[in-house]
């Protein structure tokens, strides 16, 4: 398989990034230090390249109805400029991917899929929306994605020259006004250097921030401009390693860890994302109405003391003796850079899922006590 390179690859290499293979893409895992990048996002801002994500456009007079059928959420209820976190469910109720869907026009949606699933999501959307009057375009190769995340994100974005609002004469003040007043999970069709860029107040770090969807040609100039404006505000380029610890602290599920084809949304605490209230049928509806088995494992947060973290795949037990039973498994775990102690998300049997329950993580042969805690582990002050 050929390695796919971000349009920002040369910039990352010049910055001395360490790379990792991510779903066939060579993406920066860190530039200097995971912890420093993590802390920069919590206290100032981080600049992320997310160009590996999949972008799929669904357009046509029946795009809203088509997506109501194809996805778990009620996308027809979104207004223009609104984003929605939703799921692509299998017929049996499991999760094929988790998505953010932006309504970018009356008859137009932008579906953002995880890199590893992008092609499959596009195929599924094509198949599911075939009976409707709409078309599906996989634009993943034609769109780069840059995220600015952190408490200084708004300040950095509004101080970066070159932005305007689409069709509004490229007036910087209009842009500042639009993004400053923008609510979380909203987006605006903007321009950067007179080229279109979708500016969305979304992210995956637990901080305020923006995600900028831009053409690959335009991405390097936009990245450099944000980096230059942001540097005095404490902005640093941040890699996928810090992104993972940030989203874990924020209790956000990651596909392939907390979410899989064998996971019902309700098990992951995402029951509310499945719009059983919408009047129409949708793929996975019957299975979702039936729900998972009563004893199906549920997602919990775990916190422990010390510094040894349980990691994905580590087993959980109901005691630390030889007669203890295995009651669950960790799906993501790390020493929390913000909290200073180990945290993890795990699937455990419902009878062990109550907040305050003590479980034992098998850390390579040693049982370490961990308490079931409420998610998220970290919540920013607003």
């Amino acid at each position: 398989m050929t390695e796919r390179l971000s349009p920002l690859d040369a910039i990352h290499r010049a910055a001395g990034a360490t790379f990792t293979d991510f779903a066939g893409w060579q993406m920066p895992v860190r530039y200097s230090s995971d912890l420093a990048e993590h802390r920069a996002v919590r206290t100032a801002a981080g600049l992320f390249d997310l160009s590996h994500m999949g972008e799929i456009v669904v357009v046509g007079p029946e795009a809203d109805r088509a997506l109501d059928y194809a996805l778990a959420g009620k996308l027809s209820a979104s207004v223009e400029g609104q984003a929605k976190y939703t799921l692509l469910l299998a017929r049996h109720g499991g999760v094929i991917d988790d998505l953010v869907v932006y309504r970018t026009g009356a008859d137009r949606y932008l579906v953002v899929a995880n890199a590893a699933n992008a092609e499959h999501v596009a195929d599924e959307l094509r198949a599911r929306t075939a009976p409707f009057d709409c078309e599906v375009f996989d634009e993943s190769d034609d769109m780069a994605l840059i995220a600015v995340q952190g408490p200084k994100a708004l300040e950095i974005l509004t101080n970066t020259p070159g932005f305007g609002i689409q069709g509004d004469g490229n007036d910087h003040d209009d842009f500042v006004h639009a993004v400053t007043g923008m609510k979380y999970y909203r987006a605006v069709a903007a321009e950067y250097a007179e080229q279109p860029v979708l500016v969305a107040r979304t992210g995956y770090t637990g901080e305020d921030g923006f995600e900028l969807y831009v053409s690959p040609d335009q991405a390097p100039a936009l990245w450099e401009a944000l980096a230059e404006t942001g540097e005095p505000h404490g902005l640093v380029p941040a890699g996928l390693a810090s992104r993972d610890t940030l989203r874990l602290e924020a209790g956000m599920p990651l596909y392939g860890h907390e979410l899989t084809r064998d996971t019902f949304p309700a098990q992951a605490g995402l029951g509310r994302v499945v719009a059983l209230g919408k009047e129409v049928d949708f793929v996975g509806r019957a299975a979702s109405e039936e729900g998972p088995a009563a004893d199906a494992p549920v997602l919990v947060g775990l916190a422990s003391e010390g510094r040894r973290a349980g990691r994905a795949g580590y087993a959980l037990f109901d005691g630390d003796g030889a007669d203890a039973s295995e009651v669950g498994v960790i799906t993501s775990g790390a020493l929390s850079p913000t909290l200073g102690h180990p945290i993890a998300m795990a699937y455990v049997a419902p009878r062990h899922a109550a907040t305050g329950t003590t479980l034992y993580v098998d850390v390579r042969g040693t049982r370490i006590a961990a308490s079931v805690v409420d998610l998220p582990f970290y919540r920013r002050e607003k």
């Binding site: 230090s33 995971d34 912890l35 993590h38 390693a241 973290a309 390579r364």
Partner: protein, 132 residues
């Protein structure tokens, strides 16, 4: 500053300082063991260390400790047969020393040995292993 040419290496990314200079403060017949900058860089930020206790008998090729970073868990593999005489407690309490000074303050253990294994690598040979 340690001259990297003075160290020996393993393909498991440990370095070994063989005591030929009493000024280094190493017991006669002893070696100092750490992990290379290459290994520390691959691991990312080191946040936890588990090292063998003083007095532990170790064997070349055997896992004797763990080096956890934010992202992964690495093993410390003993490059020599011998007995642990000293453990770097400062690195245990400040694991970030493995990133900031892997060849110096981030050393891990001192081991007395009867014989230095013949298969340790020179700096040049080690750089061939890492391709750097």
């Amino acid at each position: 500053m340690t001259d990297l040419n003075d160290l020996k290496y393993t393909s498991d990314h440990e370095w070994v300082l063989i005591d030929e200079d009493p000024a280094e403060g190493v017991d006669a017949g002893g070696v100092v063991v750490g992990i290379t900058a290459y290994a520390a860089d691959k691991l990312g930020d080191v946040v936890f260390l588990e090292l063998p206790e003083v007095g532990t008998a170790v064997a070349a090729g055997e896992v004797v400790g763990e080096i956890e970073s934010t992202k992964s868990v690495g093993e410390l593999i003993s490059p020599v047969d011998g007995t642990v005489t000293e453990v770097n407690e400062r690195a245990v309490s400040e694991p970030e020393l493995l990133n900031s000074d892997p060849f110096g303050d981030g050393w891990l253990i001192k081991v007395t040995v009867a014989e230095i294994p013949g298969d340790l690598l020179s700096l040049e040979q080690y750089r061939e292993v890492t391709g750097e």
